[in-house]
Symmetry: C2
Subunit: 330 residues, 2 copies
Amino acid sequence: MPNVVIVGATGAVGQEFLKILTERRFPVDELRLLATKRSAGKRISWQGREMTVEEATHDSFKGMDIALFAGGSSSTEFARSAVAGGATVIDNSSAFRLDPDVPLVVPEVNPEDIRWHKGIIANPNCSTILMVVALKPIYDLAGIRRVVVSTYQAVSGAGREGIEELENQLKAWAEGADSVSRVFPYQIAFNLIPRIDVFQEGDYTKEEWKMVKETQKIFHAPGMRVTATTVRVPVLRSHSEALNVETEKKVSVAEVRAALSKAPGIVVVDDPGRDRYPMPLDCADTDQVSVGRIREDFTVEAGFNLWLAGDQIRKGAATNAVQIAELLLK
Amino acid sequence: MPNVVIVGATGAVGQEFLKILTERRFPVDELRLLATKRSAGKRISWQGREMTVEEATHDSFKGMDIALFAGGSSSTEFARSAVAGGATVIDNSSAFRLDPDVPLVVPEVNPEDIRWHKGIIANPNCSTILMVVALKPIYDLAGIRRVVVSTYQAVSGAGREGIEELENQLKAWAEGADSVSRVFPYQIAFNLIPRIDVFQEGDYTKEEWKMVKETQKIFHAPGMRVTATTVRVPVLRSHSEALNVETEKKVSVAEVRAALSKAPGIVVVDDPGRDRYPMPLDCADTDQVSVGRIREDFTVEAGFNLWLAGDQIRKGAATNAVQIAELLLK
């Protein structure tokens, strides 16, 4: 059984790693929990074991087989040390995702890419993961010509502090008190913020470019046409996306729905007669991407509109990383 | 000075009519306030006058020049009676919008259409109004080949009761109580509901078809290609939209921005360096459509992504109707 280390164990994604390792009965011999100095010393109980969170250092990785990095700046600081210490790193930060020496893996889409890793495997951006899981069966069925995506991203994308900020703003509102914004640039309660991460080329945000470039890398399709607008919404922990997909080949809605229904990692929730469609509130604590509102787009030769929702902390981060670890053990 | 009657005077749009008539110094001789039986008898003070809301009947319109209908089923019931009574009806419901005998008017886009009215002028759907105001300068500059729109619609779209439902759900959450849903099909607090109005052809909702068909009618372009996904979000009163616009002619972002900046009814809020973009919270009680996040779409020959927000009750409903009334007086 492998020795596993979690870097960033006290954050939202780190905590989810612990739950998911248990739920999926992931075999673990030694488990080590690391965090920044600020969180070191915290006690965490897991599967009957009482553990103390240690401060991450370059020497923390000796004897470890798998290092799950929850994300953030610790990846740039410690990922190479973890590899040097003998561990295979599964990294949830954006540091290595576009590195040509690092595979970027979503197990439902490109599991074969873990074969060529050189110590680090990158976990894609949360919005990208949810989107590519839904695109994969359409890609296989009909080819993809172009994707226009608008996201509706939960505050959990900014970690535990993002969740707390929305909750605190709403509690302040209920008490008639003033709202404070620290994590997000403006109030997020009752608001939408159409800017996630920093602005880059062409006035697109880094989050928008992630959805373009990571998708192209995962599909090994550098010319795949994807354009995105990413928006923060006052939802706690599941991301949603409106996708407009033009396909190479003309196929029917029924064929797309059948392909999505059979695909791994997807649950089709699409029954207008019974008022059923994916909603973020229904996706909390689930591992599948919910896909619905599947409609022919009558404005193109061949294309579809669809709507998806998925738990950003689980399939969008922790679950995908643990699935990659499971592939490593095979 | 015209005699003005407001039908639905006690609802969210009706109340806004009263504010806007004052703000815009709309000339009013007699003002009559109508509502359903349930609201009849309510006292409303306006410009120093104390008025009693009367129950709307087929005889309520005699001597009236302009009838502002706030929307809902009263339009189908009373609009023809208002015309018979001598009033010109400006109707905010969906009842007459696609009637070939009824002009559908957004003053910034097609003011000339009021000329051929036969007693009724329709006010478009709120999401449509905000979108066409932003599309108009692009249409004039470069032609429009295709639009993909994803909406982020406030609870005010369901009127005063929609606003109260979100507020009540969040107060219940703050007190640890259970949430009740009556207006919306599911909890809207912390959630997104990707279904507005009833399902129709092709599993599109009526709200989605409104954005397609009303836009085509307003631009007199029955072949204009528009496809929409409409989503309810936990925001109180301004709607937002992510638009992907393919144009006929290749123009630069600078040209689009300049055209939008000069256009009536639009304020360009687009300064990534100063973290400025349109947000619904900034649009409450404003009459302009805020447009930003203007970016070249690199996946097409000629096209743009942009993001807009606007007060759904004002420009999306009441202000647009009063602007139409102003055109009538000219």
